[in-house]
Amino acid sequence: MNKFISLTKIQVLDFFSKYTQKLNVKNKYLGILVMFVPVLLVLPAAQLVLELYHTFLMVGFPELTITYMYIANTILIVFSSIPLIISIFFYAKDLRLIATLPIREDTIVFSKLASIYIYLLVISCFFLGNSIVLYGTIGGLKVVSLLVGILALLISPLVPMIIATIVLLPFMSVIGSGKRRNLMVVVGNLILIGAIIFIQMISSNIQMRPEELNNLLLQQDGLLMVIGRRFPPSIWLTKMIEGSMLHGLLFIAFNFVLLWILRGLAKTLYNRALMKFNQEGAPAVRGKLYYKSKSKGFQMVRRHINIILGNPIFFLNTVLTIFVPILMFVIVLFTGEVGMDISKSEALASYRLFIYTAVITTPAILGSLSATVITREGKAFWETKVLPVSAKDNIRYRIYSTLVIKLMGSLILGILVLFVIPMDLTSILIAMAFCIAATLFFSSIDMIINIERPFLNWTNPTAAVKNNLNILLSLLIRAIVGFLGYGLVKLLGGWQVSSIILILCGLLFVFYIITRYVIYEMYVEKFIDIAP
């Protein structure tokens, strides 16, 4: 077999075996069905795309759904690929073996990208895939548009993935050569992500002269040009799906040119970035010796937080899922995209408490930290199992560590948002109560997921915290709870916002009490049975 195919096959098989590992489902067909759980997560995305489609249909340009979603998808993929590339290229355990094999450098780079590509393709299916299917089916089947759209979907992860690779590999070799390289990797990448968000916002904020904008809008594709000017390939893609051969060729050629550039750079990137980074020894940070006594609980919680802080991928992933809302908030404040006038808007007055509550609860919703709190320990899981700590406490301290991180994120967000949306004390307390109830419930139910699927044997850190079924199950629970919450809000339409939030908060708290009971009464034995 061709070396590239063989190496890629191994990487992809490893990816999928980790995904399906320990499903705890003995029935083969049920196992396959469980694998399709992510499909259920497509439903909320489909709803979002459908609403966008109807909005653009009203102005007579439904194809703009694809333009818009392609741009959003590209940004989402750049963000998603950053921790993936770092993990699979720089922190995977297999490089020590692969580096000794008689394989060309570009083969190694491309085979590693193949497993990243699959993951990114799944992400693309959520928004871009939905928009292509909707555009190609609503109002009669458009076979050509659908087929060309599927081709575009398959190509769509390439551009952001290659750009991220070309930027990241040299970037990592520069920031990774210092003594505190793990810290540098996290801080450096946060600055990079911040810069991407900043550039994106600046580019979308560039003011056009009114006459220039008018001229553009008078053209047949005026609106497409206005939206697509942020990223021209989105214009080519939209026109390609509409049937333009020329734009189709342009879009495909653009992807091929990028692939060709990466192929040309692969050897240099491999030797000067990847090997250089891996040749650097582990950081030898020196500190003073000390003898201090702390409580068992403090030590256990600190240990779990340290596991996140000590691994750049875990740290970056946590920061991205929990603190990116904070980062985005700070950037929109600095760029002036959201100003103080939001607090004066009459239209938003009744929604202000909803918005504030939703924003501060983001860390609880986005961060599935408890769903991987056992997994993150990997082969070091045995350590706490042999210690004189009860299984109940062992579980409890894991949940506490998640609570500490999430509530810290909520607190920072809560303070920052107050500068833009001033709230009275009662409203703050109501929002806080909801946030705490949501954090408690999601942290506890995620713990059940991780006890059911501990998955301790991973080859790269991203597999532990991102591309595994635990995270998808955890997101599915959030989608279901969100759907129920949305239904309740609709049902209680005439009620005061504060009353609705308090009712939702009460429900979440009841869910938490039930989940807590289930964990400590039914899952302790299962936790004990987890074999390191």
């Binding site: 500190g287 003898y291 045995w382 210690l387």
Partner: protein, 239 residues
Amino acid sequence: MLVVKNVSKIYTNNKKAVDNLDLEIQKGEIIGFIGPNGAGKTTTIRMITGMIAPTEGTIEINGKDIARESVEAKKNFTFVPDHPTIFDAIKGIDYLNFIADMYEVDLKQRKEQIEKYTRAFHIYDALGQTINSYSHGMKQKLLISGALLPNPNLFILDEPMVGLDPHSAKILKDIMREHCERGGTVFFSSHVLEVVENLCHRVVIIHRGRPIACDTLENIKKSSSATLEEIFLEMTKDE
């Protein structure tokens, strides 16, 4: 000190890793646990240390059942695994303080014990460094120092000599003897039969999950002049 009664372990794939194991270890003994690869040594040690639960049978450590009174039972022993896989993004001293807090070791004893064992293993000067900068052997020595720190009643080790240089292996053997002289008990598995032969009061040989010998070396060798290696090879020979 350690009583293993009718213990069996059947994994989910129906593989019987340990089959009806009985074992009783007295205070002050050094017990060597030997067997071919896949004989059930690591599974037995994992059950004794509470990492996995037995399918059948009970395990008591100093009179405390590891399944029913796990915390009390675990206060009586410490464990060193065959691979020094630990959370390594912290400093060596952080790890030792963590272990000391878990076993509620007071500050005076903690300082004395840490200095005693880490100096003996020549890793004292590295305690301020993060563990991921340690070599395999240094990590092993850190784990052993951590396990000795609470002065456990029972000291359990899985393949403790792996990764240790001859000098450190000698120190560990001396520490094990010294621990027994002070009334402690040592239970360890090993593939190095010379170590077992020279160090242990009794030897347990396990084969295909079943104990095939559990006696003093003199009694095992009573009927022949063969070495432990020859007896081991004969006993565990596949028909």
